[in-house]
Amino acid sequence: MKVAVLKGGRSLEREVSLRSAARVEDALGEAGHEAIGIDVGRDLVGRLREQHSDVVFIALHGPGGEDGTVQELLEILDLPYTGPGVAACALCMDKVAAKHEMRGADIPTPDWAAFNATAFRELGAADTLEEIEARLGFPLVIKPASQGSSLGVEFAATREEVPEALLAAFSYDDRVLLERYVKGRELAVSVLSGDPLPIVEAIPREEDFFNFEARYEIGRTDYVCPAELAEDETRRVQELATRTYEALGCTGFARVDLMLGGDGPQMLEVNAIPGLTDTSLFPMAAEAAGIDFTELVERILASARERPASEATLPA
């Protein structure tokens, strides 16, 4: 099969995307496919039209590639692609919309409040911070509504730290959310075509737990897969994660991140296109299930959504 691999682009997660794609391209070659890497830019549509790929493997992370934008284009071009569809991608990328959806489906997610910068500038939103702080307590997690990685995620231990944390989060997105901090174990459930893979637990090695950057560097965080959990707990977490995946309308594959605290699992977010690099959690989970990377890529490819020709289809 001729497979276009979309990568790079100009999201802040460009580097990760390039690494994911490099690995995917190799695996595709290994499996006998013809992989054509496309660094996403202005010429994307033109290149896709020229290439007549059978299917498009989306290895993009962050806004633009993971939020439904590229998926929408592929729908219009009538090209089958990997991963969740337009609506699911848009929901997953918007952490606030995703949390509302979870609430609606009775899926536990930490309490939150969300604002855009305009609310602060024009509507006096800062006036409500006191109530929010009282309701959510400290430490408080403050994060941009739409970044896929840990960029811009801040902890505020006290009231005094809130304004700076907000400002930092607003650097990455015009909307931020303040979320109750859940103390507990950090888990990730990779879901492949609706089936949960073994759970990965991230255990920061450093005493400074509130350092998100450390979590993505080899040697600064330990990953355990399968996570050491009682059998019924594993099942419960996997079942909830799968429900979350379904509630957000995911197809193909996605990764659900959650905290396992005293009150049970609390879902944080869903990554519509999780990283596929050497150090990424999804391939680690697949490996633990006996699925090597080539097979994983094959399975993702097989799940590529065949979409019906829509009215919007343009001549190729």
């Binding site: 990568k7 790079g8 100009r10 802040l12 997660e13 460009r14 580097e15 990760v16 390039l18 794609a21 490099a22 690995r23 190799d26 695996a27 290994e30 054509i36 890497g37 660094d39 910068a117 602060f120 500038r121 006096g124 800062a126 006036d127 911070l129 006191e130 990685s149 840990s150 960029l151 811009g152 009231r159 809130v162 304004p163 700076e164 907000l166 400002l167 930092a168 607003f170 650097s171 990455y172 950057e213 993505y216 560097e217 080899i218 040697g219 990953y223 897969c225 050497d278 150090t279 391939p283 680690m284 490996e287 090597d292 990377f293 080539t294």
Partner: protein, 475 residues
């Protein structure tokens, strides 16, 4: 080669990983290029266990990801540290290289002496002479760029845990070098007259009380990278005295000394000291080309000997071809004119940047006004983290180096380094306008958040809207 990454030091992104594919299918005869596939997480764990402790000192991943985007063509990057090599006449380059090929092909393609050719040293003596120094050629060793000189000196002098003193902020490219030899880095604050020598004295006294002595004091005294400030004459004298009193070496890194746009030249530490306690690092990177990788060290013979052994272990010798080129270039005798050209160009660019800062940066920002070199240093209110700000700036297609890169201890978070040598006037103005806009937005947002968050009574109409922020003096 580093791929896809423009470190905040002085290098360019060579190849974007994604671009490697281009042209691959055309060359049917070549075996397909392959990346190693299937590194498993277990493999990674295995390697992680093998890495030396010193490899752990690495830049934050957030900054790495952000810096990767600064290399995109649509981004106006004020983040680099590049001289403008497009100003070098291509015809002369062609003639010089042709002459080398015709007259000394075999020699130019051969190994050379570890310490460098005598002819190269003669050129170096000329360059140092232009700043009032007259070194003995035997006190020189030619290195692969100034960066290797920093590496070799640290390798020669520093055992793990040894104190090393440098400026705060310091040259970002020196930080990984010091870290990789596990130096205990102490940073002394700088002001508009360069390193605060009174604080240096205190630090030396404090270390002495603990029975410790720094192996060396690293300084870029002229048009410092990143701050753009120059050490005053009085402080230069005092620094050299202190070095003698405490028997501590000073490493004077002077890549920009000849790029002075106004004010009077200052004597180098090396000339004030006479070369006893001052090791001098020079480079042709900023006055000729960084691509030829030619730098040097001037040091007392015993130190030089050890550095030479270190160089032998590192790379045997500096590129012979580059040294032949240097000989040709200096032989033509126009090197001073070329520097004069650069000075004219960079002076205009510096002025354009300063004008734009005046116009587009909010009053809460302050910045240095360098008399030479390639950089200036801007500082914002302390609630703004410039690493986060870079993410916002990149949405507007403009980039700078976050200040944290110039510190070993997380300070510098609200500062940024701005480069004015690598962009033309128009790009500089537009770049500064865009940065000014995102800074103003963040300041406005912070003021809105804090004024109401503190539940203070709203200020009366017409009151100073920046009342919550202590305005910093403009320089």
């Amino acid at each position: 080669l580093p791929t896809g990454q423009a470190p905040f030091g002085n290098t360019v992104a060579m190849t974007e990983p994604g671009k490697r594919d281009l042209g691959r299918p055309d060359d049917a005869s070549a075996p397909p290029r392959r990346r190693r596939a299937h590194t498993t997480s277990r493999d990674l764990e295995r390697y992680a266990g093998l890495f030396a402790k010193r490899t752990q000192v690495m830049r934050s991943s957030a900054m790495r990801d952000l810096m990767a985007i600064t290399a995109r063509p649509e981004v106006i990057s004020l983040a680099g540290g590049l001289p403008d090599t497009s100003t070098f006449p291509a015809e002369s380059f062609a003639a010089q290289m042709t002459r080398i090929a015709h007259e000394s092909s075999a020699e130019a393609l051969q190994y050379g002496p570890t310490e460098g050719f005598e002819e190269t040293k003669d050129c170096i003596v000329e360059v140092m002479g232009a700043e009032g120094m007259a070194p003995d050629p035997d006190d020189l060793i030619v290195t692969t760029g100034g960066q290797q000189a920093i590496d070799l000196i640290t390798k020669t002098l520093v055992d793990p845990g040894d104190p090393v003193v440098c400026e705060a902020p310091t040259y970002p490219g020196a930080v990984p070098t010091f870290s990789s030899y596990e130096a205990d880095v102490h940073q002394v604050r700088t002001d508009l007259d360069g390193m605060r020598i009174d604080e240096l004295e205190e630090l030396l006294a404090q270390l002495a009380r603990d029975g410790r002595r720094p192996k060396f004091i690293y300084s870029v005294p002229s048009f410092q990278n990143p701050a753009g400030v120059t050490l005053s004459l009085e402080r230069r004298r005092r620094l050299v005295e202190l070095a003698r009193e405490h028997e501590v070496l000073v490493v004077e890194d002077n890549p920009y000394g000849l790029l002075r746009y106004d004010g009077d030249p200052q004597p180098t530490l090396y000339s004030l000291d006479g070369g006893d306690y001052v090791l001098y690092l020079g480079t042709l990177s900023k006055i000729l080309s960084p691509g030829i990788r030619i730098g040097w060290v001037a040091a007392p013979p015993p130190v030089l000997e050890k550095i030479g052994l270190g160089k032998q272990a590192a790379d045997l010798c500096t590129s012979t071809l580059s040294q032949y080129f240097v000989r040709e270039y200096f032989g033509e005798g126009r090197w001073r004119e070329y520097i004069a050209d650069l000075v004219r160009i960079y002076r205009d660019r510096r002025d354009a940047m300063l004008e734009a800062l005046e116009r587009h940066f909010p009053e809460q920002a302050e910045w240095t006004r360098p008399e030479g070199g390639l950089f200036l240093w801007a500082t914002l209110p302390d609630y703004i983290d410039t690493t986060d700000l870079l993410a916002k700036a990149l949405r507007d297609n403009v980039a700078f180096v976050p200040g944290r890169a110039a510190y070993v201890d997380g300070r510098g978070a609200s500062s940024m380094r701005l480069n004015f040598s690598a962009s033309d006037d128009e790009e500089l103005r537009e770049g500064i306008r865009r940065i000014g806009k995102v800074v103003s937005e963040q300041i406005g947002l912070y003021e809105t958040i804090t004024s109401e968050h503190r539940i203070t009574p709203p200020p009366d109409e017409g009151d100073d809207p920046g009342g919550e922020v202590v305005p910093l003096p403009k320089r």
